[in-house]
Symmetry: D2
Subunit: 322 residues, 4 copies
């Protein structure tokens, strides 16, 4: 019809609004509110947004969106698995959304994936509604455990080639703080890594300013515990920020871009949309201001200290409520 | 649980936003987007809002909400029917939502209601989704006609005790402008009123400032055509404004509060939630500024003139697209 | 130039946003933020808004706007002064904005106005920036007292023809709750009224739904203390609601529209923009739902009870912090 | 005082809102609106925002903010100047804000900077209000020309070591489209570069999705004209996106991180906040999806073709209106 794009009738009138910080908002036009639910721990919603497609929101915080979750999940999973010579068993702390498991299961050499999330309702919600992860949830190599990740790791006797932290950011008093401390890494995580094992964790915002919130401190805490620590980052459009991850091991983490590309080709089913050798090289060369903060960071997460963060991370893939 | 009311997770994150004017917005927190659709004329949506319950939105403009539509529809329908000594046949121009018919059909003496709306899809949408009007849509006294109200009135040979205008506001170039002109009232509406018949129309915003948009001019136009003209108004919370209606006839419109209450009691099934004798008396005594404008208004809607309005009215119960 | 009105560059980009309720927002496009300040009690700002002109905001709550504050202040002041046969001395509880004093001082027969506001900084802010009240603040009949209104009334020995409550709504634990209780009215206010004296107070939102928040209870509380009590209301566009006031006295409050108009003409300098005889008659005939609630209201504000309200009223003309 | 952080009175109530795209909004809490003005070409405002400090807004589009403009301007200026063996004369197309000149003038070997912006009022506005650029505007090496950049370059007889495009994005029908075409680069820009000269331009959004808007096409257009073309990008928090630049020359652009750091140390006064050798290396290794699009891009900007972009870029440092 003859309606022009700027007619008032065509203005977007339903919006999802997120307070990234108290004085900063990020708003997506909505097509619909697909599903809403609540667990004993948190509220959960699946929205259909115009700019980012389906969006998973937990306790009013965006977790991931259909169109760009591949950036987060490929960055979380593949660098650690590719730096390991032959990863077979993986433990995910959190990850109830299923996307982390999905990326792991694309690796042909994987035998066993433990996904340990505390919130059964959130897992069931994602299993029901996130079509993109349907296959992963049904994969026989995936073992879903509903438990506190700390308790689960403490009580298991087996070892893992890669342990992945897909948890909400460490906020003092927050649900996941205890899963980012030096003592947790030292006495719970490291003992469960097999020889040459690698630990990787999401590490909160890593932008030119936002990296001081938790990223530098997670990095510094891991540096106290592991010999080799590699921080890296990527811009995630739906988060309106650059995000960070930290990979750590007692074995050297030195695989160059060509070898990464070769391993991707041989080990991973299907094609990565975000990560390849050059992308990881770029992602792991941090910009000047971030490198400076990381080099000078002295704070370590212990049971008694924490830094605050406002926003995404506060419930990011939240799975743990001690 | 222990969550306090001001946790970020508890902030409302999905909103319906309406531009009442270009520089004035009105936003309702959303529970869900229940249904959306489109006709050849307009987009339509049924939202579930926190402050006002279910809300019908056409082309990005709020039409009515579950919790306060009774104010608009009781005010539109009952004064005219109660001022008529014995109304039996009613013609609604527009009214596809069904609420106007519902209020009319509560009058025991009604034999026949013609609802003439141009947009079949909107009527079907409301029939399907507005539970509160289900019964009215099934009432055997209701005759639904999908047609242009002007053409329908021109071609019919029967007469009506009350004709009701439940149309979008008169905007030059808008879909309903021609249904508010002096010539339309004189040569189409008046000839179809039976003896003692009454015409009533919604008449746009009638607030201390907003009454100059179309209310005063609708009033003045009707004053050129009918001997007795009664403007009245009521504040409608979901419109964030006071709304206006104008009732007109060639017979005197003088029924006092007590007699109105008596007629309500005898003629109407169920109890009115908004309108009674005193409410109408108050509604028909306009405030100083509005009375002054109405007294001095000289503009008349003819085929060649119009005033602009931004907002609600531009698609209010929009039914007519010549 | 050739830019059309809907070019993105012409969209309004600075906004004032008010949460009327937790799930309802009201947003005005901004021209500028004229002044901001803070007292020991509250934050204060003077904004220049597109839809309503200059707007006074205290603690994030709209107090009054340039284009429609006359509705609130004429409604608060004139009915009480006009119902009194010859008011000479007036006491304002609160009113630091100065507009209430300005309206009182338009009455030629006034000898003395005491304005008692607890917040000197707010008074000074308004004195400096609200040009429309400059003259009133300089009027020699006006006596400004910085004090708690309760303490001031208790300690004074003089009597007043009219006492006006221009205070924030009664919220349990709020700054003004104690200035709305039965015991305050009985033992502090009434003893300071001269023979035939009238008390009037703003009484919070009075819309079809919102009148249950505090309006009905203020009415019922005054009904316990005074023989004659008249509630009335008016729609205030910038509040996005109908507002209420209650007038109370031990002398009858019966002046008809004609006599009100005559008194306005003889007693008041300049012309009222909102209030005249008919406007007051309409304002004091409440609609059915409101009348019903008021008739059935049983709650009385005492030191131990209160009702909650969210929004405007919570800081409306806030002046009292016991 | 005892107010808690989540009291409604402490909510942010004044906001700057930008539509990044039609269905995506980005909102900053406001402290104040410092200055507003208008030129014959555009509206201009200087805001004081809570999250990003002072923000320059032209025609409703954010241009730069106090806290992160160094990312944009260091990225625009330093790579090209550092890759040149000894740059002495620079031509800026646009750049009226003054920050581009400021960064250039930090290079000790610079003799002459021509800043050619078409909008004198915008230049004067920035000269008056952007304290951070005061010194640059007064530097005797800076020559300000108010003219169309194309006309100015065409008519000058001198040559430049570096030409910098600090212009709004190429939108068909937009003010700057003609300054991004193959013929403009070939017949106007290249002839004015001295031997070994380098051209660099801002190149619009370069995010995982947004790089297809104009970045890939600017890259491909320059690839038709110059032998060596280096695209690079950086996340700019206030833009809520990753931004792109393209550097082009007929001499090789191969300076490694160590040499860049050495040149920074020797040539630039003061310390860079964003750019150093490693940062540039990372910035110039694009991620997989972006590299793929660039490699496959076939479109070239000619007088007859263009791509559309919505948002920042549409007025970014807009200076040219043919």
């Amino acid at each position: 019809n003859g309606h022009s794009a700027c007619e008032s009738g065509r203005r977007k009138s339903c919006w999802y609004e997120e307070e990234i910080e108290q004085d900063l908002r990020w708003c997506f036009a909505l097509n619909s509110i697909l599903h809403t639910g609540a667990s004993q721990y948190q509220d959960i919603a699946l929205l259909d947004t115009k700019p980012f497609g389906k969006a998973l929101v937990i306790d009013g915080k965006l977790q991931s969106t259909e169109i760009d979750e591949f950036i987060y999940h490929e960055s979380l999973v593949h660098p650690a698995l590719l730096h390991h010579p032959n990863p077979k068993s993986i433990f995910i702390m959190g990850g109830g959304e299923g996307s982390t498991a999905r990326e792991i299961l694309r690796h042909k050499n994987i035998d066993k994936v433990i996904m340990c999330d505390i919130d059964e309702e959130v897992v069931n919600f994602c299993k029901s509604y996130l079509a993109v992860n349907k296959e992963a949830f049904c994969d026989s190599r995936l073992h879903l455990v509903i438990n506190d990740a700390r308790a689960e790791l403490e009580n298991r006797g087996d070892y893992f080639d890669v342990i992945i932290g897909d948890l909400a950011d460490p906020i003092e008093g927050g649900p996941c703080y205890q899963l980012y401390t030096k003592s947790f890494y030292e006495s719970i995580v490291k003992p469960r890594l097999s020889d040459g094992g690698i630990f990787v964790t999401q590490a909160g915002p890593a932008g030119v300013f936002s990296h001081t919130e938790v990223f530098s401190c997670i990095y510094n805490t891991l540096r106290q515990v592991f010999k080799y620590v590699v921080p890296y980052s990527a811009h995630i459009p739906s988060y309106a920020d650059t995000w960070g991850w930290v990979m750590a091991s007692d074995s050297p983490l030195t695989v160059d871009a060509e070898e990464l590309d070769a391993r991707i080709k041989h080990r991973i089913n299907g094609e990565n949309r975000y990560l390849d050798g050059k992308t990881f090289v770029s992602a792991s060369i941090l910009s000047k201001a971030v490198r400076k903060t990381l080099a000078k960071e002295t704070q370590v997460y212990t049971e008694g200290t924490a830094r605050f963060i406002y926003g995404h991370g506060s419930a990011h893939n939240s799975n743990h409520h001690p």
